[in-house]
């Protein structure tokens, strides 16, 4: 059973790599051609964000002296902008990996994951950084059989950042630190261009070749939404999403 999954995973990975190589050459011209912008909003009252008690580890507590850290399950801005929403092209995108050159990074800072949700392209290098003066262990838990294998590595303070890549599309891989149980984040492995909403709720997807697509916006707690969008040469497409608070 398991081995079949592994096999499938490896095959997909192989396929993706091949496609990637092709698309890279073809995308060089297409790069920067079109983009998609929009905002994600939250209606209704956002849930009460519990404060996190970090008294277990003085280092963490010191990092948040004054304003204690809050749970980041749903982070809504003042004007209802919803942050940490991953927007990606779920249908209609033919190309392979894009922008695989610029590495995204997930930083362990103040015993929280920054960013809380990191989106990364298949096979795009993801840098894991530990800026704290305490040891973290970063422990992604991909769904079995989805093609990504989980691992669990400690990062003592001052140890070098390391790069990882993900083989298969998976939205989203929960990642946690066992040493600091409150630390939770998500790694959204998408195929093709993507954007992540900032705390105002606005996002941008670059490097989209002209065409019409189906966008999907994913929020860790509120689920997924889709929208259709068309991108013409020189004219960016726009798509807005609205999530309803539970």
């Amino acid at each position: 059973m398991k081995t079949r999954y592994k096999l499938a995973g490896m095959l997909t990975a192989l396929l993706l790599v091949v496609v990637g190589i092709f698309s890279l050459s073809s995308n060089v011209s297409a790069a920067g051609e079109g983009k998609i912008t929009g905002t994600v909003k939250l209606t209704g009252t956002p849930p009460h964000a519990k404060t996190i008690d970090m008294s277990k580890d003085p280092v963490c507590q010191k990092a948040h002296a004054g304003d204690p850290a809050k749970v980041e399950t749903v982070v809504a801005g003042a004007d209802g902008g919803l942050a940490n929403v991953v927007v990606y092209i779920s249908e209609g995108y033919s190309g392979g990996a894009t922008a695989a050159t610029n590495p995204v990074s997930i930083d362990q800072k103040g015993c929280m994951y920054q960013p809380h949700v990191v989106a990364v392209d298949v096979n795009q290098p993801m840098k894991v950084v530990n800026s704290d003066q305490t040891t973290h262990n970063i422990h992604p838990l991909p769904a079995p059989g989805a093609g990504n294998t989980g691992w669990n590595k400690s990062q003592p303070p001052g140890s070098a950042p390391f790069d990882v890549t993900w083989k298969a599309e998976e939205i989203a891989i929960p990642v946690k630190c066992n040493i600091h149980p409150w630390m939770h984040g998500y790694i959204a492995v998408v195929k093709g261009p993507y954007g992540t909403s900032d705390d105002k709720g606005s996002y941008t997807i670059d490097n989209v070749p002209p065409g019409s697509y189906t966008l999907t916006a994913w929020q860790e707690d509120l689920g997924k939404q889709t929208a259709k969008v068309t991108v013409a040469a020189g004219k960016p497409g726009t798509a807005d999403f609205t999530f309803k608070a539970k």
Partner: protein
């Protein structure tokens, strides 16, 4: 005692050809040497691991140069990660306990000298004997292979407490493949030791030469006999336990995993298992294992001391009875490892008294050693120095048992460095000193060359003082509540203790380095040492009646006949102040003063 000298014909001819002679040899002497080599390899690896651990404990965030090449993921940039520390710790314990303390004093020396000391040509089952070594070797390979498979060796410690060791990779790095390899390796190791024990028992009971009654066996032979009795029962418990552990991993059973465990936010699909069951099974093996490691040492030390003191022990038989008592009690005390484990507190009390009772046979043994020194003509050489060092170490480690045998004090001391100091002194260091004593004592017999005394004495001084510098402070750390198995000391109350750790680390590095003197001495003397006479120590037991190194069939086809108790020293005879066991000359023999 039926006469075996009549059919004094070897039941397998001397092998020709390299493989049969040195690799798959049936000769108990070669197998003994193979065991010794395996132990040397294991102890070397184990020592390097302990070095790395000590450096990390002393200077936690320091980069150890070159470590990143040993394991890029375990030590990015040479800075050891917590899981890598625990992995090293697990492998250190496993290698040392199983592949050094069990194989060297018991399997290695026993294989070589038990048949000679009972006056036999070989073990009764040479094939089993050879198989026991090679199975052990496979076990070694399997265990060590966990370094190179999956995400490294297990981090559950050499005790591999369930459910950490039973739930699989979800519990942490190394808990998947590594843990299974560990369990498989140990299960295989048990098979090897079971075969070996069978051989030892039957050798002692059936292969004794004419006149060699049980009471005329040297103390070493008795020690190996008692040890093999323990091994037969203890390893027979550990092996199934390891198999059940593997089943929990790969077959999805739930022997050791309770229900409703949520690990990494994942509800585990196990149910109905008992986590304490593993501890019971493991320690039912684990405590006899301690005596499997130390009793052969006691035998060797007594043997060496006697020929150095030029007199028999005050009482041959009381010593043997005491060792038997140790072996027997060791099965009724395993619960003292589990006082605060959640076991019924009443059983903790029940286990505490047999544990305290163990001090009685131990004290008898020590007192007889010391009492026999009285009025003796003590000869000081590397062997006897290490033997006396053994006595000192055994006492130092033993008294801390007073504390750990009491559940009320275990509340404070359990799982602290006090325990580490205790078992390292009484089990590890003492047993290793026994191995050294035996090596210096028997090397001339095995190789036909003397070891270099000067190097031996230098080696002793470094080891003796070093061992105390390393392991005495552990007790103080423990009393201050320094918890063991920590890869770094982040708790406030442990900060003042870190200098002690630094001191221990330096002591460990020096002492470890000094062991290379021994290694050099071993190799150098093997080829360049002064030629050894047949009986350099003027000893009486049978191994000194044959040439060194002994011929293939030990006694040249004519089995010896024994006329005396093993240790006839301090008597007037033609050869001096001692009489060989097989010399027919009539003497006023030294009686047991029991």
């Amino acid at each position: 005692m039926h006469d075996m000298s009549a059919q004094a014909v070897h039941h397998h001819a001397p092998p020709t050809g390299f493989i049969r002679k040195y690799v798959f040899s049936l000769d108990h002497k070669v197998i003994g040497k193979q065991y010794y080599g395996l132990a040397l390899l294991a102890v070397f690896i184990g020592m390097v691991l302990s070095w790395l651990m000590r450096i990390h404990l002393g200077w936690t965030n320091a980069a150890i140069p070159g470590l990143q090449w040993l394991s890029s993921s375990g030590a990015p940039g040479g800075v050891m990660t917590p899981e890598y520390y625990l992995e090293l710790m697990t492998m250190h314990g496993t290698l040392m306990v199983f592949f050094v303390l069990t194989t060297a004093p018991f399997a290695a020396f026993g294989n070589y000298f038990l048949p000679i000391q009972v006056g036999a040509e070989d073990m009764p089952f040479p094939h089993f004997n050879m198989m026991s070594f090679w199975v052990t070797f496979v076990a070694f390979c399997v265990t060590v292979s966990s370094f190179f498979v999956g995400d490294g060796p297990p981090l559950a410690g050499w005790t591999s407490y369930a459910p950490l060791s039973a739930v699989g990779a979800v519990a942490g790095p190394g808990q998947g493949t590594g843990q299974v390899l560990w369990a498989a390796g140990i299960a295989i190791f048990c098979v090897g030791q079971l075969l070996g024990s069978l051989n030892f028992i039957s050798t002692t009971l059936d292969m004794r030469c004419k006149g060699m009654s049980l009471w005329r066996l040297p103390l070493t032979a008795w020690a190996w006999f008692i040890t093999s009795l323990m091994g037969l029962t203890a390893f027979a418990v550990l092996m199934p336990a390891c198999i059940l552990l593997i089943l929990d991993h790969v077959a999805g059973t739930s022997f050791f995993v309770a229900s409703n465990l949520v690990i990494n936010d994942q509800l585990q699909p196990h149910s109905g298992g008992s986590t304490l069951l593993w501890q019971h099974l493991f320690w039912f093996f684990g405590h006899p294992e301690v005596y499997i490691a130390i009793v052969p040492g006691m035998g060797v030390v007594s043997h060496v001391l006697i020929s150095a003191m030029r007199r028999p022990m005050l009482s041959h038989r009381v010593l043997i009875y005491s060792m038997l008592a140790l072996a027997f009690l060791s099965y009724m005390v395993y619960g003292h490892h589990m006082f605060v484990s959640g076991m019924n507190p009443i059983s903790s009390v029940a286990f505490s008294f047999p544990t305290l009772a163990i001090t009685i046979p131990s004290t008898i043994i020590v007192l007889i050693w010391i009492g026999s020194l009285y009025g003796s003509r003590l000869r000081i050489n590397s062997a006897s120095l290490f033997a006396l060092g053994f006595v000192s170490m055994f006492v130092s480690g033993g008294v801390s048992g007073f504390f750990l045998a009491q559940p009320s004090l275990d509340i404070m001391l359990h799982a602290t460095y006090f325990v580490v100091g205790h078992f390292h002194l009484v089990m590890a260091v003492a047993a290793i000193f026994g191995i050294f004593a035996g090596t210096y004592y028997w090397f001339p017999k095995v190789t036909g060359r003397m070891m270099n005394e000067t190097l031996g004495k230098v080696h002793f001084w470094f080891s003796f003082v070093g061992a105390y510098c390393i392991f005495m402070p552990f007790h103080y750390l423990g009393m201050a509540g320094n918890v063991r198995r920590y890869s770094a000391f982040v708790d406030d109350f442990m900060q003042p203790l870190i200098p002690v750790h630094k001191f221990i680390t330096i002591a460990a590095l020096v002492t470890g380095a000094a062991q290379f003197i021994f290694l050099y001495n071993l190799i150098y003397s093997r080829f360049k040492g002064a030629p050894a006479p047949q009986n350099p120590w003027e000893a009486t037991s049978l191994e000194w009646t044959i040439p060194s190194p002994p011929p293939f069939d030990n006694f040249g086809g004519k089995l010896p006949v024994v006329y005396h108790d093993p240790y006839q020293y301090g008597v007037e005879s033609s050869t001096g102040d001692y009489v060989m066991q097989d010399s027919p000359e009539k003497i006023q023999s030294v009686r047991d003063e029991a």
